[in-house]
């Protein structure tokens, strides 16, 4: 075991951390927006819209993320109209392709989590809100959504961990995040285990922080479950 090499590789690996974090935060934030929209569409009551949203979720949950990333990065450039559209400067960059693919992927999974949470809000609470004179939109905003978000947190925590790990796939489309740097350094030094341990430890720390954050959010949102001091 070459401890010196492990120690020396740390700064270079951490250089990729910023990109990894950008991918995680960017795709989770955008993915949450997508998920919110899709969950609402799936509960809209309109057959056509519901089928479309369900098809989106089915496709993105049923195919490997690697296929989705390659489809966006290599696939979209095949079409003339995309190459001529105003989006091309973005879709040409592997960075935005990775963000787009990760966003669509997590959006599909999160929308299912959110849909389940919205459905789990007791009907009596909605009825009570309506009886108080709230409009459907107000009841949704004040009653259903806050309860649903609290309800979905444990399952969403799993999704966050999956996303932390999924960002490593961005290295396959030339992005130099933690895994990309690790792979390049392994190719240069052949110190497989040392570098693997360093990279793995970075991801473990990231996941540890992520689960703590979710736990904290859960704790903040469930004051009534805490033992009274």
């Amino acid at each position: 075991m070459n401890w010196q090499l492990m120690w020396d590789s740390l700064p270079r690996m951490l250089g990729g951390l910023s990109l990894t974090l950008q991918l995680i935060v960017g795709s989770l934030a955008l993915g949450a927006l997508v998920a919110f929209g899709v969950a609402l569409l799936r509960l809209s009551g309109n057959r056509v819209v519901e089928t479309l949203a369900a098809a989106y979720v089915f496709v993105f949950r049923g195919t490997p993320l690697l296929v989705q990333i390659f489809l966006v990065y290599y696939g979209l450039g095949q079409f003339e109209f995309i190459r001529e559209s105003i989006l091309w400067p973005f879709l040409r960059e592997p960075y935005w392709c990775a963000i787009l693919a990760l966003t669509l992927n997590t959006g599909a999974y999160t929308s299912e989590v959110l849909r389940g949470a919205i459905l789990s809000v007791p009907q009596g609470q909605v009825e009570a809100a309506r009886a108080c004179g709230m409009s459907r939109a107000l009841a949704f905003r004040r009653i259903v959504l806050p309860v649903a978000i609290r309800q979905m947190l444990p399952a969403y925590g799993n999704e966050v961990i999956l996303m932390v790990k999924a960002t490593s796939l961005a290295s396959t489309i030339t992005l130099m995040e933690v895994t990309g740097i690790a792979r390049r350094m392994i190719a240069q030094t052949f110190a497989v285990f040392e570098l693997f341990i360093v990279a793995g430890a970075i991801y473990l720390v990231l996941n540890f922080v992520a689960t703590r954050l979710i736990k904290f959010a859960e704790w903040r949102l469930t004051p009534y479950l805490r033992a009274r001091a």
Binding site: T63, P64, L66, V67, F70, L71, V164, F196, G200
Partner: protein
Amino acid sequence: MGTAMTVAVAVSAFAFGILVGSLGASAKLSHSLALNVVADIYTTVVRGIPELLVIYLLFFGGSSVATSIAAAFGYDGRVDLNAFTIGVLAVGLISGAYSTEVIRGAVQSVPFGQIEAARACGMSRWLILRRVLVPQTLRFALPGLGNVWQLTLKDTALVSVTALAELMRVTHLAAGATRQPFLFYGTAAVLYLLLTTISTALFNRAEISANRGVRRA
């Protein structure tokens, strides 16, 4: 052809994963502190780091480990693992970590009273395992194992980085050769969808047949 290879890798890795998972679950449920800790570290680490890293580790490091193991048994010469073995080992280890948790949960949900009853009837430990524990664990574990199977199936796509000619690798080559990436990756996506849909249906049938003796509330 690529699809067949994907299914071959996925099935072997899933089987290997269940084997590892059963061992992991029994380690987690054993009374030995050392086994508990080892199994805990295994599931935490493998579930906490990206699948791609695990595959890279075995791809770059697997052969040297195999060589040193072989050397320990008195064989001096280089052992080269082929891409298929590495893929199955890597995906199997990942799948095993998830299976461990699923199987552990399933074993724990077998009511303890039944085991006591079996013991009171004079069954030996092996007989209890075979007649009471395993059949019920299988039933409880099926939905969770279904999820693990879907994960495993999709993780096999990552094995394409080791140049094993499975579905994703073949697609990558075809897309590069014909300059029609969207068409080929789209086809790959459809094939994966087909595989996941078929396996969902199969798992549903398996669940129904496993639950045929259970009374519904």
